[in-house]
């Protein structure tokens, strides 16, 4: 039996009907066609499906959609503001943090989640924060560099 669910995604209110066993990831991708969030392993190991819930990163495959009731979800689609990329997205492009791109939305969300909590992380803290995101192309060096640069940009803009 489908249940009614209301939640906010990227600032917009949604009212949807979902099956009890539907994950938040499947709701986003299959029902709402927000396919920026990727399905890698579907068992919480790869981090490709990372989204923010009330500003905390979670693997959306490991959460039932119904558990997101009344929560505020941010997906990679929600990072662009006024047609401008988020500083973390911009830095991934600029510093070559993207190769095949499959892990990129998840890594970007982990980067954004880290910078919300800690605007001035060390390299070690960045590596620790993205420990739950697998990337088979980049070797992580450019990803780490991009997140550190984004942090710098965001601090400069904030001050």
């Amino acid at each position: 039996m489908k249940h009614q669910l209301s939640l906010s995604i990227n600032g917009d209110p949604y009212e949807v009907l979902v099956e009890p066993y539907c994950s938040l990831l499947d709701l986003l991708r299959d029902q709402l066609h927000l396919t920026g969030t990727k399905k890698g392993c579907d068992e919480g190991d790869c981090g490709a499906c990372t989204v923010l819930i009330d500003d905390q990163t979670v693997t959306s495959c490991m959460m039932l959609a119904l558990d997101a009731r009344d929560k505020a979800i941010t997906t990679v689609e929600g990072l662009v503001q006024d047609n401008t990329l988020h500083p973390v997205q911009e830095a991934f492009v600029q510093y070559g943090g993207v190769q095949c791109g499959f892990c990129t939305p998840g890594l970007i969300m982990s980067g954004v989640g880290l910078l919300l909590e800690n605007p001035d992380p060390t390299e070690e803290e960045v590596r620790f924060a993205i420990g739950g995101n697998l990337c088979r192309c980049t070797g992580y060096a450019k990803v780490v560099q991009a997140i550190l640069k984004a942090a710098e940009t965001m601090r400069a803009t904030a001050s």
Partner: protein, 306 residues
């Protein structure tokens, strides 16, 4: 994968009533274990009962008289970041930093980690070493069970049908207590412990005599276990390098490791003594007043093979 129904409880009593009334339920909070088992087909619940919205069960409180109270819904991420946990029960915060990745730590709960009863559960050696007591609520009312007796085997607990774990209580610790957890696993993040060891040491006021010690081992027996023989070597003794080495060797007596994908029984036996020795060494240093930064503690707690 079977199709399960969804129930939600807003009070503990409501949860107990639903579980008593309807068979085939699985309690979920973070759901990170249940969803995996369900997708694997290992668990086929008729319904899941979400307890995550029961108010108050995510509370952390501490008093020097009664110790630490962790509501069952406290997330692993909260254990990692909570100032009181870091300060008073550091091995628990260290274990939390070694647990999966940030995204899972934001979902997974301490009560769920206990109820999953994996011998390799990351928070469990620390909880056991700190003497955690479980508060359970079921159809017959409330009861307290020590964590040591809560675990019955891999994935098995003393929880009765329709009974919930609602709180973990950790007694207060004497002054001059130090603690370290080390997780030895193939990878530094997103992995399961091949061996986990926690040591909690309390020293006497001036003499350096060990007043109290708990040493616990994860992933080397059907449940997380106390290393009683190792504790006995140190209890009431002057703790020096030779004693620590002797205790580390004695820890093997309580280990019954098996071969699995993360290591052979032989590998596990080979690393137990070095891990116990290292946890004791740093626990004693901390008990003597050495301050270790959280970053240093995290560096010590995570030992990747590769």
């Amino acid at each position: 994968m079977n199709r399960f129904a969804y129930r939600e409880a807003l009070t503990v009593q409501e949860a107990v009533d639903i579980l008593s009334r309807e068979e085939g339920g699985r309690v979920i909070a973070g759901a990170t274990d249940v969803l995996i088992r369900w997708r694997q087909g290992a668990w086929k619940p008729r319904y899941v009962l979400n307890i995550k919205r029961i108010p108050g069960l995510d509370a952390v409180s501490y008093s020097p008289e009664t110790g630490l109270s962790l509501g069952t819904l406290v997330t692993i991420r909260t254990l990692e970041r909570h100032a009181l946990v870091r300060h008073c029960y550091p091995a628990l915060a260290q274990a939390a930093t070694a647990f999966a990745g940030v995204q899972i730590r934001n979902l997974a709960t301490v009560g769920g980690n206990a109820c999953n009863a994996s011998p390799a559960g990351d928070t469990l050696p620390a909880l056991l070493a700190y003497g955690a007591v479980c508060r359970l609520v079921g159809p017959a009312g409330e009861r307290l069970v020590s964590l040591q007796h809560f675990f019955q085997g891999p994935g098995l607990t003393t929880l009765q049908p329709a009974e919930l774990l609602v709180e973990l209580c950790l007694p207060p610790l004497p002054p001059r207590t130090g603690a370290l957890y080390i997780k030895h696993s193939p990878r530094a993040t997103m992995d399961i412990a091949a061996v986990g060891v926690a040591s909690v040491v309390s020293l006497g006021e001036q003499d350096g005599i060990c007043q109290d010690v708990k040493i616990t081992l994860g992933a080397v027996a059907p449940t997380v276990v106390r290393a009683h023989a190792a504790e006995a070597v140190l209890q009431g003794s002057l703790v020096d390098a030779a004693r620590i080495q002797q205790a580390a060797q004695a820890a093997l007596e309580d280990a019954r490791p098996i071969d699995d994908i993360r290591g052979t029984a032989g590998h596990r036996r080979a690393v137990i003594a070095p891990l116990v020795r290292r946890t004791l060494h740093y626990a004693v240093q901390m008990a003597q007043g050495t301050e270790l930064s959280l970053q240093t503690q995290r560096g010590l707690a995570v030992e990747a093979i590769f």
